[in-house]
Symmetry: C2
Subunit: 402 residues, 2 copies
């Protein structure tokens, strides 16, 4: 509650467009739609593209957008202004950060990651290391033994802060410190962190961070990714994806690449102006509530859900850390027929998602999820589990996207 007795989250919740009666606990996959987004995008289309056409690059500030929006993201992840740039997808940003990290430690051949990392991070690393050739290799260890695997062969430690399956949250400061003590550079993937949990990049001192904006930041399907590079390093890395908008003088049209100053060299091609315009109103929410407020409410929501489910659904086994401070803003439960249970839940108006092989996963978005949502979700899940109503043929049919 704020000082005047109004819950700030009642105000934010009213500014999202969600179907009546739907309990949406999948904002950790795709955030809900802010009511302001459609108008904002209509304005960009008709008032900027429609009236200014090519002039929009200067007059509407499109060219500067990747930096301007980057500064807004920076404020949510403990990064100074001028250290974050937007564009492309998270996969591309992983590739860029990893190539940059490797360019700082050319004598070390190993990229270290853990089996809790999101697969695309590992796939992009595989592709980069194959392209680099030589002794370069990817080493994947269990999350518990990362520190033991840090040695003088490791160039870069690349981890996702919050595990997409279980919500288990790494100790960002501790692991970064351990890596630095062995001369290892660190990349944090904040896909499930940005807008979900407080992050302090400046404090932890990591070299790079990347993330997406379509989950807890509510930027919409296909929203752009972000890349953070520590300010003292940006001028010293070799960009692997050396596109013209990362050039020191894009409109000089030189035949040779010269990297731009600082974070600008992580720009690649033409920025996704419309996706960026859709992201902007979504970031306004973070001006009315702090990340600490969001975290406190997130814990309240997830604890209520965990307690409710554990009390009423004995067949579901908690797959997330029991300590709310050891997990992000999500909870998962293991059950052999998890896929069917989730389909039944969705039909009943409670949306979470399924992650192979057997996890049902629920995300908690304080900006639009209330305690009343949690009650409905627990009751519905309990009813489905108790009645066995999930065990119908149509709930076992897998869709293309799970």
């Amino acid at each position: 509650m704020s000082n005047n007795g109004i819950d700030p989250f009642d105000l934010t919740r009213a500014q999202f467009q969600l179907p009546d009666g739907l309990v949406y606990l999948d904002g950790n996959s795709l955030g809900a739609l802010p009511k302001a987004t459609a108008d904002r995008l209509a304005n960009t289309i008709s008032q900027e593209w429609g009236r200014m056409a090519i002039g929009g690059w200067n007059r509407a500030g499109w060219m500067h957008q990747p930096r301007a929006v980057g500064d807004r993201i920076a404020s949510l992840i403990g990064a100074p202004d001028g250290t974050v740039v937007m564009g492309d997808t998270l996969s591309i940003k992983v590739y860029q950060a990893l190539a940059a990290g490797l360019s700082l430690s050319k004598d070390r051949p190993v990229v270290l990651s853990d089996s809790g990392n999101f697969p695309t991070d590992l796939y992009m690393a595989e592709g980069l290391l194959k392209t680099l050739g030589g002794d370069h290799r990817l080493k994947i260890v269990d999350p518990e033994v990362i520190i033991d695997a840090l040695d003088e062969t490791v160039a870069v430690l690349m981890l996702t802060h919050v595990d997409y399956r279980t919500g288990r949250m790494h100790d960002m400061a501790g692991l970064t410190k351990a890596a630095h003590s062995k001369g290892v550079r660190v990349i944090w993937d904040l896909a499930h962190s940005a807008g979900a949990v407080p992050v302090d990049l400046a404090l932890c001192g990591a070299e790079f961070a990347v993330g997406c904006t379509y989950k807890s930041l509510n930027g919409g399907p296909g929203a752009p990714a972000f890349l953070y590079c520590r300010a003292d390093l940006a001028d010293h890395v070799d960009p692997a994806l050396s596109g013209w908008l990362g050039h020191a003088a894009p409109f000089a049209f030189d035949l040779e690449y010269r990297p731009g100053d600082g974070i600008d060299r992580f720009r690649v091609g033409t920025p996704p102006v419309l996706q960026m315009a859709a992201l902007e109103p979504a970031l306004d929410f973070f001006e009315s509530v702090t990340m600490n407020q969001i975290r406190a409410r997130s814990i309240e929501l997830s604890e209520a859900f965990r307690e409710g489910v554990e009390a009423s659904c004995p067949m579901l086994k908690l797959a997330s850390p029991r300590d709310p401070h050891a997990r992000g803003s999500q909870l998962s439960f293991a059950f052999e027929h998890g896929y069917a249970v989730m389909q039944a839940l969705i039909v009943e108006g409670v949306v979470g998602d399924f992650r192979a092989p057997n996890l049902i996963r629920f995300g908690f978005a304080p900006l639009y999820n209330s305690l009343a949502d949690i009650d409905v979700a627990v009751d519905t899940l309990a009813r489905i589990m108790e009645s066995g109503s999930w065990d119908q043929p149509q709930y076992h049919q897998r869709a293309a996207v799970t």
Copy 2:
């Protein structure tokens, strides 16, 4: 004229939103806004994202969009269904095509290009070749001597079909044939070709093509790029940007990358759903007119402009091929103070652009440019040149984006 006496381009022109009185000859940089775009995007936002949320990936077909839209592009560039995929930016697609081409000829170290190529293509090649290391190198020759430079050291010939500065159009079939006779793979950048001139990829047999959709295809600022890979090759290339949506089973979340079938392996991260939705209505225009009709009208427009300017502006020197069949849908003129002339023109309501060091550039978009536009543009340019009104201090001040 069509059979019933109605000019099909009068119909298309009425479906674009352009400021009253503006003559927009910069569609080769950013295409004009189709009137249908705003509603289409509003629908995607409120009816798909707003109502389906995460369900949009399956129910609204978002996951399939990069292939479905790719098929629509394929039909405009002479490519079969299933050979084109959308996503990312043109710079990224250049990187992917080049890495794929090099993976097919591992014993050849050279990428050959010409000095008329758009700089980002050369920059991305530089970055990739540096990452690959070894003997890999980029060789840049003049456009006239490409064939002489083709030899057994060259793995890939990478060219932009229509020169962004002059509009000079390469002989796609002839150069591809010459390259193939030396065992060289070919990548065509169609940035200034797709939607502007007829292209027949199947006929010319090139291995790869890439392009953007915000120029003559009118997809809007930040519209996604496309990549074509010849059907018989797609299963044999090693993707350098091995992202999860190019994986054979993205939702199995394996720790190791296995490339998807065919063109799917060129997908990388989450597709830009909103940018893709904005592109869709722009592609509808190409169902009412053929690329041959567009080409015929484009030549009519550019010839009228060339004749008018050459007759009335003796100080402007034609920098494009005089033969309309040897150029794309654009014309450039050289003049020492070209920048100031273009600024004066823009203030007078005729929009082209400037390309360093001294070119004023005009694009012709039959979908919305009329012969009446050409008359206004010629008269305005002649008046500015004759009066010397371009020589004012404010017209010499360079903007960030030219």
